[in-house]
Amino acid sequence: MSFITVKNVWQQYADQVVLEGLNLNVNEGEFCTLVGASGCGKSTFLRLLLGQERASRGEILLDGQALASEPDASRGVVFQRYSVFPHLSVLDNVALGLELPRSPLLGRLFGSAKKHAREQASVLLHKVGLGHALDKYPAQLSGGMQQRLAIAQALIMKPRVLLLDEPFGALDPGIRKDMHALLLELWRETQLTVFMVTHDLSEGFSLGTRLLVFDKVRLDPHAPGAYGARITYDIPLNSDRRAQRAAVDALPPTLAGVLRTA
C-alpha cells in the first residue's frame, strides 16, 4: 500500500484542462522532483496535494484516506516567495507553528510554554544555519536565509509531506547549492516525503529519488486548452539514497532512529 495514491486526477478551469488522467503511487520517504515546461500543471498538482484546490475529477489518497480539502498541519509547504511572515522575528516565525495548534483561543503561548516553544524553534534554526539571526525580521535577511527560515518553519510542524514550489528559483547558484545540501540533510534525518517543483533540470536530477516529468501528450492547435498534461516520464534516480532509505526503514525502529540522527 503506497503512502500517496493519485487516482485518475483531472483538473480543469472553465474549458481549460490543466491535468488529465493523472495516476501515481508514491511511497513514504520518496523525494519526488516535478519538472516540465511552464504552465503544464506542476504547480497545479502541488496545490492539489496541498489542499489549496480540489481536483475536478479523481481522488488523492494520503495513507488510504482522502486528502483533507484544505491546507493543514500534515503537509508543510515552502513557496518561492512570501513564505515567511514579515511582522514576526525569525524566532517567532518558527515558534508560531508551535503556538497556533496549542492555543486555539489566542494563538499564542505565555510563560514557560512560550519559552519552551522558543527553545525548540531556536534548536531547529541553529540547525538550518540561522542561529545568528534569531531576532531579525525577514526583510533583514537575504533571499537564501529567508528560504532557510521558510524550511525551518515548515519542519517544526513535523509534517509527513513537504511540498516545495520552486523554493530556490530566486536564489544565486552558489546559495542554491548550499540549500540543496541542507535540504538533503534534513530529508535524510526525517521520514519526509518531498514533492519539489523545479525549473532547473539538473536540480531535479541531483536531488530527487524520483523524477516526474509533466507534459502534454495531445495537442490541438485550434484549442490549446482542450487537453491537459500527464506524467510522461517517471524516472527513478539516485539509487544509492533510495537503497539507503529502504535499508534504514527495514531496521527496527529504535536502531533506525539512531542511524537517522547520525
Binding site: 508543510g76 514579515p86 494563538g107 499564542r108 526583510a139
Partner: protein
C-alpha cells in the same frame, strides 16, 4: 544641468522649506500694517499684537461668566470628541475591514455595502443625526464615526486582500484556525496600515468635528470660531485656526512616529 537632476543640499533645503511660510507671513503682516495705518479700528487683518492679546485673554484669563479658560476648555472638548470618534472608527473599521477582506462569506455582503455607505456625504445626514441622537455629544461623535468608518473599512479591506495568499496558506499548514489566523497573521499586518489610514483621515475627522460644533454646541474650537464670527473677531479666529492646524499636524506626526516605533518591520517589508 536639467532641473530634474538638481537637488537642494541640506542648508538650502531648510531655506526652501521656510521660504513659503515666511512669504505668507510677510504678505499678511504687510497687508495688516497697511490697513491698520489707514484705519486703526480695522478688524479684517489684525496685527500680531492684537492676536497675542486675544490669545492671552482666551488662554490665560478666566472667563468672567463661567470662570473657565476658554481656549483650553475648547481644546479639551474638541479633542475629546475627536479621540472618541477616531477610536470608535478605528475599531469598527478594523473589524469590518478584516472580516470583509479575509472571509469571502463576509466580504460578499459587506463589500458593496461599505462602498455605497462611503459615498453618502456625511454632512448631508448631519440633520438626521441631530434628530436621532439629539444635540448632545453623541451626535457630534457619531458624525465623525459615520464619516470616516466606511472609508477606513474599505481601505483596510483592500490591504487585507493584498496580503499574499501564500501567507494565509502557510499559516494554515502551521495549524492556524480562521480565528487564530486573523489574530496572529492578518491583524498584526494591518495595524500599521490602520495608523496610516487614520493619518489620511485626520483631515476629514476635523472637518466633521468643526461642522458639528459650528451647528450645535456650547463649547469646542469650531463652536468658538463660529461664535466670534458675529463680531468679526479675526483676532480670535486666526489664532484658533493656527492652533487647530498645529494640533492636527501634531497628531499626524505622532501617528507617524508611533507607526515607526511600534512596527519596525513595516518599512522594510514593503520594499
Amino acid at each position: 544641468m536639467r532641473l530634474i537632476n538638481r537637488h537642494p543640499d541640506r542648508p538650502s533645503r531648510l531655506l526652501l522649506v521656510i521660504l513659503p511660510f515666511a512669504l505668507v507671513l510677510f504678505a499678511y503682516f504687510m497687508g495688516s500694517a497697511e490697513r491698520l495705518t489707514e484705519n486703526p479700528n480695522d478688524k479684517l487683518l489684525p496685527s500680531a499684537v492684537q492676536m497675542a492679546d486675544a490669545v492671552k485673554r482666551l488662554a490665560f484669563v478666566a472667563d468672567t461668566r463661567t470662570g473657565e479658560y476658554l481656549l483650553w476648555q475648547d481644546t479639551a472638548s474638541s479633542l475629546q470628541r475627536l479621540a472618541i470618534g477616531l477610536g470608535i472608527s478605528a475599531l469598527a473599521g478594523l473589524c469590518l475591514g478584516i472580516a470583509a477582506g479575509t472571509l469571502p462569506l463576509f466580504g460578499a455582503p459587506l463589500s458593496p455595502l461599505l462602498t455605497v455607505l462611503s459615498m453618502v456625504p456625511p454632512l448631508a445626514i448631519l440633520p438626521i443625526l441631530f434628530i436621532v441622537f439629539g444635540l448632545g455629544e453623541l451626535s457630534k461623535v457619531m458624525l465623525i464615526v459615520i464619516g470616516i468608518t466606511p472609508c477606513l473599512a474599505r481601505d483596510l479591506e483592500q490591504r487585507a486582500r493584498e496580503i499574499p495568499v501564500e501567507l494565509l496558506i502557510k499559516a494554515q499548514t502551521l495549524g492556524a484556525s480562521t480565528w487564530t489566523l486573523m489574530l496572529r497573521v492578518v491583524l498584526p499586518q494591518l495595524l500599521p496600515r490602520l495608523l496610516i489610514s487614520l493619518r489620511l483621515m485626520l483631515g476629514s475627522a476635523w472637518l466633521f468635528l468643526i461642522a458639528a460644533e459650528a451647528i450645535a454646541s456650547t463649547d469646542g474650537l469650531g463652536y468658538r470660531i463660529f461664535l466670534v464670527r458675529r463680531y468679526l473677531a479675526m483676532d480670535v479666529i486666526l489664532p484658533y485656526v493656527v492652533w487647530i492646524t498645529l494640533l492636527a499636524w501634531l497628531m499626524d506626526w505622532g501617528l507617524k512616529r508611533l507607526t515607526q516605533r511600534a512596527f519596525p518591520w513595516y518599512e522594510g517589508a514593503r520594499a
